[in-house]
């Protein structure tokens, strides 16, 4: 690497920052294995009773099922709509490109609170009763810009000559997309869909307003937080953390695999997937 620019001070700062980020999460994971309900040291023994309690609870199960349904529908929906939109915009030279790109970015600029209440008003006006369907629609709007940015960047990087050649050889647009474009970008697109899944799975701020009588895991955690200190939240939280980390690891692996296939070298691009997305968000 570019030597001689390492700063020990910045290194210490980074270490402190990482401890600050992970210590609360690590403490929570530790107390999820505590035999008693207290949040104190010394430890009074290990136990998996909180995990058993969580996994046995019918409320948690139905909330988890709802979360999985909504997040899967959101991920698949964004994958289809977002890929179509990103492909259409990168391959078109129409003057509508600018305004459409702005429209596709816009939801990210609005804090969740406003998105949530505006959609609540919109659904009421439209006469749609609140359900998992309205939650999915809201999540689609919320995650769309994230997916779109990643997909657009991936599609714009491709060498246009390959597609032109395929079309010159007589392939129609759909065949070209399926046989030439998709094999080059699908790992990135699936990775971005995983990101969409993770964002939807954890979404609370918007969901709270548009959910109606159903529950999702974040909603369940929220209602337990309101009740009292319930040690089983430690267990749910740890499970959620493991789940999102796993999902992220899959995303990284897919993206890095895709990148290697495309470029034939190991790039740091996969880890850059999320930074690139958030950079454009800001």
């Amino acid at each position: 690497m570019s030597g001689g620019r390492r700063s020990p001070l910045a290194g210490t700062f980074t270490l402190v920052g990482l401890v600050f980020l992970w210590a609360p999460l690590a403490l929570m994971a530790l107390f999820s294995l505590h035999a008693t309900a207290s949040l104190s040291f010394p430890f009074e023994g290990f136990s998996t009773r909180w995990y058993a309690q969580v996994l046995d609870s019918p409320e948690v199960r139905s909330a988890a099922r709802n979360s999985l349904i909504v997040a899967s529908a959101t991920a698949v929906g964004t994958l289809v709509l977002g890929t179509l939109a990103a492909y259409g915009l990168t391959r078109s030279r129409s003057r509508l490109r600018g305004p459409l790109t702005l429209l596709f970015f816009l939801p990210i600029t609005l804090p969740g609170l406003f998105l949530g209440v505006a959609m609540l008003v919109g659904f009421r006006r439209a006469g749609l009763s609140l359900s998992l369907l309205t939650v999915t629609i809201a999540h689609l709007v919320y995650v769309f810009p994230f997916f779109f940015m990643v997909a657009r960047a991936a599609l714009a990087r491709l060498d246009p000559a390959l597609e032109e050649m395929a079309m010159d050889l007589g392939a129609d647009r759909f065949t070209t997309f399926r046989r030439v474009t998709l094999p080059q970008v699908w790992p990135v697109l699936v990775g971005a869909a995983c990101l969409a899944f993770a964002l939807s799975f954890d979404e609370f701020v918007i969901t709270f307003f548009v959910i109606g009588p159903d529950s999702t895991l974040p909603l369940y955690v929220w209602s337990s937080l309101r009740r009292t200190i319930d040690p089983s939240i430690n267990a749910i939280s740890t499970l959620l953390l493991l789940f999102t980390t796993l999902l992220f690891a899959i995303t990284v692996l897919l993206a890095s695999w895709g990148e290697r296939r495309r470029k034939g070298r190991t790039a740091e691009a996969p880890l850059g997937l999320v930074p690139a997305a958030v950079e454009r968000a800001g």
Partner: protein
């Protein structure tokens, strides 16, 4: 062949565009109209009025909440950017494996659940929490310290925890074009450590750092969940008032008016920052890659 390339593919973007117009733009417009209508319980009625906006500025409570939002927003955004800058700088020049590990930890914590973090901080700062129990255990205190939780400090620390990794990632991406050679050249030309930061590093990160600052400020100031669990009565923020209007009291028109006042002030902040960047000519800084 060129005729087929032009305009045609844009049709593929129509489902997404129609969806966003229907479920994003239209609700937002309806929401705007609501703020000028007369509120009834979970309903709005026709006579157009400015009364909702008058109500927003009439009470003392909103003034206090707005001040809290401003303080918490500015504080979280400042701490996030100030702490993220050295972290991003370190990441930029760290050697391969260390950087990969650090980056993975930062991105994974970026994805950690929002509610889980709030819960974690409540169990750390609470009266029966980790800090109080530890201090009691050692014998430093006999009564739990009540001032740790339910104030603006607790809200700020949780918000910093929520947004820090995001800001690190933004600044890390911003520093990517900064070749070590630029700094070496500056050094050879006689620039000291401070001057190198001011003349080489800062211009490069100014625009992204300010946009990240604004992002954290807006999301912190409008947050309603963190203050609900960590803020108590002293640390309540304006977002809570919007939430209560829509879910608790059912006064949609009033809630919409507060929300639009907040949005308007965010737009003003955005314009000020954009203007500041343009005046200092930092908005067009580009380094060759």
């Amino acid at each position: 062949m060129t005729a087929r390339l032009r305009g045609g593919p844009l049709v593929l973007a129509t489902p997404a565009a129609a969806g966003l117009l229907l479920f994003f733009v239209a609700p937002l417009a309806a929401f705007g109209v609501y703020s000028f209508l007369t509120g009834a319980l979970y309903e709005v009625k026709p006579p157009f009025t400015l009364g909702n906006y008058e109500d927003v500025f009439a009470g003392n409570l909103n003034g206090k909440l707005a001040r809290n939002s401003l303080v918490v927003g500015l504080l979280s955004a400042t701490v996030c950017v100030a702490a993220a800058l050295p972290m991003a700088y370190w990441l930029r020049y760290a050697s391969g494996r260390r950087r990969t590990v650090a980056l993975f930890l930062i991105v994974a914590s970026f994805l950690a659940s929002y509610l889980v973090r709030i819960y974690a901080w409540r169990s750390i700062l609470g009266e029966n929490g980790v800090i109080n129990r530890a201090l009691e255990g050692v014998g430093v205190i006999s009564e739990p310290l009540g001032f740790l939780l339910y104030n603006r400090f607790a809200v700020t620390i949780a918000l910093v925890h929520i947004f820090l990794s995001y800001v690190v990632l933004v600044l890390y991406a911003a520093l990517a074009p900064l070749q070590a050679s630029y700094l070496e050249v500056a050094q050879d030309l006689g620039a000291g450590r401070l001057q190198r930061w001011r003349r080489v590093v800062l211009p490069l990160v100014a625009a992204p750092a300010l946009s990240a600052f604004l992002f954290v400020f807006v999301l912190s100031a409008s947050d309603y969940v963190t203050p609900q669990f960590l803020g108590g009565t002293n640390g309540a923020l304006l977002g809570l008032e919007v939430q209560v209007s829509f879910i608790g009291t059912g006064d949609y028109a009033y809630g919409a008016a507060i929300a639009f006042c907040m949005l308007a002030s965010f737009v003003v902040c955005y314009a000020l920052i954009a203007l500041g960047l343009r005046l200092t000519r930092l908005d067009k800084v580009r380094f060759a890659t």
